[in-house]
């Protein structure tokens, strides 16, 4: 019951954040120096054409009515028309989101299954060579710009070693559409094309490494320090006195409370992860929402840009909601505090 209460509060807060987000995005789109209609039509359009498009885009209405119109559209899931592709932004994002989602999910999975065990291992060997070397690697992961790592990976794996593909999600000319879930890896398996699953994974590997390096580093560092904090707690001390084996102590009594900080960090890191997806997708020619975003930004395609930012924010808010629920599940103290 208390957990439901916690959930309801958290959900309400997420909605509030999204309302704030929509106001911010709307404000930015309206501070454009110059007229969106003029930008859309280019310098050769006549004054009448501009006025007609202004009326069509609702730019002649008062600002609050424009905002309400924008939110009304959002609520119906309508993001307007893209100037670049001449299609609705919904369709464009719908077509590209799955690719970004696949990349991001792969990144989160890789970050957790490498970052957490590495952190645990470093903590158990505190100040040993294993600890020092993994901390150094984590640091390198955090400080290397994602776009630069992406280029280095392309050079190394795609050219020097020549073992992995460096662009796109599938080899050119592959006759396969991911139309069940949109996730290449999942869809190839569902359709029984396991040869293509291997291809999909091979294409996914380099972008995932480029995107996850920073997150792995952060998660490893925080897991390490929280494991060390927990190991100084009295109950760990007494479990040691009772002669409980180190392995059980580590994995049963220390890991669960140590799991909360990495989850929280993952939530915060998710913002920069989405940001980095924009550069990584560009380098690897990954046909996702982020590279769509960059292309439309370069064309000043306002509706598409607003749509991409809104969906990115929505994604971030949703993931953080999910993480908060997970943290509430792992750590009972959080959900009890949440009800007060």
């Amino acid at each position: 019951m208390e957990f439901l209460y916690f959930l309801a509060r958290r959900l309400l807060w997420s909605i509030l954040v999204l309302v704030g987000l929509s106001i911010i995005i709307f404000t930015i789109a309206r501070i454009v120096p110059g007229d969106p209609a003029r930008i859309a039509l280019g310098p050769l359009a006549t004054q009448e054409q501009v006025a007609a498009l202004q009326a069509e885009m609702g730019l002649d209405r008062p600002i609050h009515s424009q905002y309400l119109g924008y939110v009304g559209g959002l609520l119906q899931g309508d993001l307007g028309q893209s100037l670049l592709t001449q299609r609705s932004v919904n369709e464009d994002i719908g077509d590209t989101f799955a690719a970004t989602f696949e990349l991001v999910v792969a990144t989160v999975i890789v970050s957790m299954i490498i970052g957490v065990p590495a952190g645990v291992m470093a903590a158990r060997n505190k100040d040993g060579w294993l600890d020092n070397s993994s901390r150094f690697i984590a640091l390198l992961g955090v400080v290397t710009p994602a776009f630069f790592l992406a280029i280095l990976l392309q050079l190394l794996a795609g050219y020097v070693l020549d073992i992995l593909p460096v662009t796109n999600r599938m080899p050119a000319g592959t006759d396969f559409r991911a139309d069940i879930t949109g996730l290449m890896v999942v869809d190839t398996m569902l359709k029984g094309r396991f040869d293509l699953t291997v291809e999909a994974l091979r294409h996914l590997l380099l972008p995932t490494i480029a995107l996850s390096a920073a997150t792995i580093g952060q998660i490893m560092r925080i897991t390490r320090s929280s494991m060390i904090d927990v190991s100084r707690q009295d109950y760990i001390e007494s479990s040691r006195a009772f002669g409980i084996p180190a392995r059980i102590r580590t994995f049963k009594y220390m890991l669960r409370p140590s799991f909360v900080p990495p989850l929280t960090i993952l939530g915060l890191e998710f913002a920069s992860l989405i940001g980095n997806a924009f550069v990584v997708e560009m380098v690897f020619g990954w046909p996702g929402m982020a590279s769509y975003g960059v292309r439309t930004i370069l064309q000043k395609d306002l509706n598409a840009v607003m749509g991409v930012v809104m969906v990115s924010g929505l994604f971030f808010v949703f993931v953080n909601l999910l993480i908060d629920v997970l943290v509430g599940y792992v750590d009972p103290r959080v959900r009890i505090r949440g009800t007060r």
């Binding site: 509030l16 954040v17 704030g20 987000l21 911010i24 995005i25 930015i28 789109a29 501070i31 454009v32 120096p33 640091l139 390198l140 955090v142 400080v143 290397t144 710009p145 994602a146 776009f147 630069f148 280029i151 280095l152 392309q154 050079l155 050219y159 020097v160 915060l268 913002a271 920069s272 992860l273 989405i274 940001g275 980095n276 924009f278 550069v279 560009m282 380098v283 975003g293 960059v294 930004i297 370069l298 000043k300 306002l302 840009v305 607003m306 991409v308 930012v309 990115s312 924010g313 971030f316 808010v317 953080n320």
Partner: protein, 303 residues
């Protein structure tokens, strides 16, 4: 956690210096100089700053910075004459990297100069006043944190036009939130301490308490955060210009150089790898220094 710095030092350190005021500075220096990563970080940061300040004297070919073309010298690999090779119009890459640090550090100074005072101010107010001030400020901060900074910066430079000035604005717009959060959490624990209560009882003004009692105790946390931030501002600025939305050519910018050089991969790798390494070097320096300062000031939860 930042606490008033009056903690007792190990006995041998106290004995080494006479006056108590020197003792604190000396103690900090002692701890700092015995932390190898912090010292390496400080050296790297000093090198980067020196490059930026003295670029015209350090750079081997200062005349080749921006509008310079020498087609005979195109695409030369790294050699004794050109340590980092030359680029697609024959400019010395090392020279442009050294000048590139100017742009990077200018970005850092402006972004942090705009966002730290603003963020710290809001954090102090939210933490000390509490009530609706706290609710409004912290909820706004939470909303701002929901937008990925790079995505926001992309959107802003998109509606404005891509150049250095707008990149600065675009990054600053959200950067203050982290400082607000940090200072808020410090202030909230500080305000119940005796020295604040004493000032209140003596009738000190709100302004006095905010800036003379609370702010000095946040300084070490702010400096650690600012050092770590410097690296991340360089990173985000480079990402922006890598996408063509930051500084425009021919201004020597590291992110732009990586992007332009990437067209000549893999054979002419130095044109993008060298500037990329230079970005990595600077960010690494600020991170190591920040970590070292964090240990020195003992402000653990600054990230």
């Amino acid at each position: 956690m930042a606490v008033p710095t009056n903690g007792s030092a190990p006995a041998n350190v106290e004995e080494a210096v006479p006056a108590a005021t020197i003792s604190n500075a000396y103690k900090n220096w002692y701890r700092f100089s015995r932390n190898p990563t912090a010292v390496i970080g400080a050296v790297i940061v000093l090198i980067v700053i020196a490059c930026a300040l003295f670029a015209p004297w350090i750079a081997p070919y200062p005349e080749q910075v921006d509008n310079f073309v020498d087609f005979r010298a195109r695409h030369l690999p790294p050699s004794w004459d050109h340590w980092f090779g030359t680029d697609n119009v024959g400019r010395d890459v090392l020279t442009r990297v050294i000048y590139g640090y100017r742009i990077s550090l200018l970005l850092v100074v402006v972004v942090l100069g705009l966002s730290i005072p603003f963020g710290v101010m809001l954090g102090l107010m939210a933490g000390y006043f509490g009530g609706w001030v706290e609710i409004v400020i912290m909820r706004l901060t939470d909303i701002a944190l929901a937008i990925p900074p790079l995505v926001m910066a992309l959107a802003i430079t998109a509606v404005l036009s891509p150049n250095l000035m707008n990149a600065m604005i675009a990054i600053s717009v959200l950067w203050w939130t982290w400082h607000t959060r940090l200072i808020y959490s410090i202030t909230r624990t500080l305000k119940t301490q005796e020295f604040v209560e004493a000032a209140e009882i003596l009738g000190a003004s709100k302004v006095h308490i905010l800036f003379k009692e609370l702010l000095p105790n946040c300084v070490s946390a702010i400096s650690v955060k600012a050092t770590l931030d410097a690296g991340f501002v360089i990173l985000i600025g480079a990402s922006l210009s890598f996408l063509g939305l930051g500084v425009q050519p021919p201004t020597p910018d590291l992110g732009t150089m990586v992007a332009t050089g990437a067209d000549y991969l893999p054979d002419r790798w130095w044109q993008s790898v060298m500037p990329g390494m230079a970005i990595l070097f600077a960010i690494l320096g600020f991170n190591l220094l920040g970590d070292g300062l964090r240990d020195m000031f003992d402000v653990e939860d600054v990230r």
